[in-house]
Amino acid sequence: MEELLFNKPGKKIILLGNEALVRGALEAGVQFVTTYPGTPASEIGNIFAQIAKRNNIYFEFSTNERVALETAIGASFSGKKCLVAMKNFGLNVCAEPLLPFLYTGSKGPTVIAVGDDPSCWSSAQSEENSRGYAYLAHLPILEPSDPVECKEFTKAAFAISEKFKIPVMIRFTTRVAHQKMPVVLGEIKPGAAGEGNFSRDPQAFVTMPPRVLEMKRELLEKIEKLRVFAEKSSLNKISGLASRQKNKKGIITSGVSHLYVQEALRELGVTLPVLKIGLFYPLAKKKIGNFIKGLKEVLVVEELEPYLEEEITRIAKEANPKLKIHGKDLLPEIGEIRPEQVIFALAKLANKKYSLPKKIEISEAVKRYPDFCPGCYYRLVFQAVKKAAPEDTIFGGDIGCYMIYSLPPYSLSDYLSAMGSSIGIGHGIKKSGKQKLISFIGDSTFFHSGIPALINTVFNKSNPLIIILDNQTTAMTGHQTNPGLGITGMAEQTTPVSLEEIVKACGVKNIKVIDPINLAEMEAAIKEFLEKEEVSVIIARRRCWLLSQRQKK
């Protein structure tokens, strides 16, 4: 961590992708950082929580990603250089203010760092490919493939944002964020302290019709200017061009896949021209057109949905209609790509012999599911619920450590969707029938997006039992602070937001705060509340066991 702050240009240190991204932001002179934690992006916020003060940077853990983005938009409007970090699903939470932010553009340069998680290593919900937001929001997207690029691309993203007055997204994946390699440090620009200044400019910041349509035109013009930039940008790199005439075959790739392509070329002992796309949107269509001209076959190596492949198919219609395009015919669309799969695809392209190693089936090999920590009090809540709730009770899951309730041997959850959805979906189920329902939600997740859904249960008269698992931290992502704790991301004292006061203020009449070690009390409350005509809330409050253990040390 200390090393990350060394202002020793030229020094080479091993960095995690996320650490390198932070270093890139420091070298770019970032001033204002917001986040909501989520794997694989969590370390970005964790590091800023530790270093922000020393570096004159404002940092906060926001209530959710939408608020994190909105906060950064306000800072950008006031001229600050901003970074917002989140995991992929966070971008969905942000979607509403994100689109108009592209219309207004950024005043202070703004970079949004978003972590996708192919193979869902640390993600329930979906295997999201956040590149799709490029099309929805006209959002410029850079895709680094390793820690070196995490640092360089972050600096490049700030530079683009500054030049074109547009927010820029860095889209990385788990294998980039949690990849380590030596990175050569550059010069740190100290975040300029002092006041920002919001100068009134309704033309720039108010997205009302009829102005909003003019803004859209301005945005599209910006994107076309940025596309001209993309055509020449070194973010898109070509290698092995000399072999083009001989083979008439080529490879187009991006992100971590590029590393597997390089590995596969070496493994197979072939040289082929490779176009690595670092700037995914706006795409350098001319550069791609020139690359595929004269080729007979091209292989597109990308993870998840074939956005690049589809773009290239469109470009080829004009540039090279006879071009044979490979991609998802040889590589999977589900799950991250593995190095041997790329060797296989490249071997097909280069007419080399290679067969994928046969899977070794060992019936005795059992993958261990994650489990609660030995002293986790969620185990007690589970016990109480199993004892007190009738057999046919429906259980709603949410996002946090208590997702483990959904895994064997517990296998409790009957549904699990997005942050806060345990309550909203639970309300819909209650409105559709007479079954009893208990939904679980953590303290941080409740603050994040449980509150509007709770209000809805009161407003529209349904009666689920909601158990707020208040372990007084955001545990799963690494014990970040949250609004309930009275301490900010910069370790300053603040007013703790009381869960029970919020619940009461939402109009909930049946509410109990119970320490889960009091099993009998918990069981009795569950039984009592399941019979109620109105919504009930139990706040199961005890500090995260793991955190308590660490704090004892």
Binding site: P40, R175, Q179, K180, Y260, P339, A365, P370, C373
Partner: protein
């Protein structure tokens, strides 16, 4: 590590544990498996720094978040003259270190005949599953690889150092001294000094040297 500890199962003892690394190699591929919380990421860090200091290119891949909480975890480390991918390819591991014995089975896909398995003779129950024994695991692994070694690292560290959390570092010491890992003692000791928190350094150095 004392010779007798090297193979707690008879079949493994037959193997030549004093394998010497080929002097020339273009890349070395390690997969470390275990149960979340066993210190895999620390082990990875120590190896990565040592490889960098030795003058190699190095890349690693690890997993954070929910996947860590007591679940099966694997981390990858590759070093050599030129390294691109952070992931070891199927059948591509030179060395597989498993900090929990049953976890070694999940790594079979990375193993080939040439692969060395260095397995901690330590077992943690998988809820709802019968506990396998060393003989069973060894039997399965030896069908895949010719070099399967079980070492009672956790037990030795607990007995001699009073702390089994350094079992992985003990295994590293064994791997270096037996020539299973092309990195020098000095490089790893220097890396430990750089990566381990001062209050745990002595314990780690002891564990590493104990296995010499």
């Amino acid at each position: 590590m004392p010779e007798g500890d090297a193979g707690c199962c008879p079949s493994a003892r037959k193997n030549n544990f004093q394998m010497k690394m080929k002097k020339e190699f273009s890349e070395f591929n390690i997969v470390i498996s275990g149960v979340g919380g066993q210190g895999l990421i620390t082990l990875l860090k120590v190896l990565a720094e040592a490889a960098l200091e030795t003058g190699y290119e190095v890349r690693s891949s690890e997993l954070h978040g929910l996947s860590q909480r007591g679940g099966s975890v694997e981390v990858h480390l590759r070093f050599g003259k030129k390294i691109y991918s952070p992931l070891v390819k199927a059948r591509g591991a030179d060395l597989i270190i498993s900090l929990e014995a049953q976890e070694a089975l999940l790594m079979a896909g990375y193993a080939a005949r040439k692969t060395t398995f260095l397995v901690n003779n330590f077992f943690q129950l998988i809820p709802g599953k019968p506990l396998l024994n060393v003989e069973a695991i060894s039997g399965i692994l030896q069908k895949i690889s010719s070099n399967v070694f079980f070492v009672s690292a956790s037990e030795i560290c607990r007995e001699k150092l009073g702390n089994e959390v350094v079992a992985g570092i003990y295994l590293l010491g064994g791997a270096v001294s037996r020539g299973l890992l092309p990195l020098g003692f000095e490089a790893i000791i220097s890396s430990l000094k750089k990566t381990v928190a001062p209050e745990y350094l002595e314990l780690n150095l002891k564990a590493f040297n104990l296995a010499k």
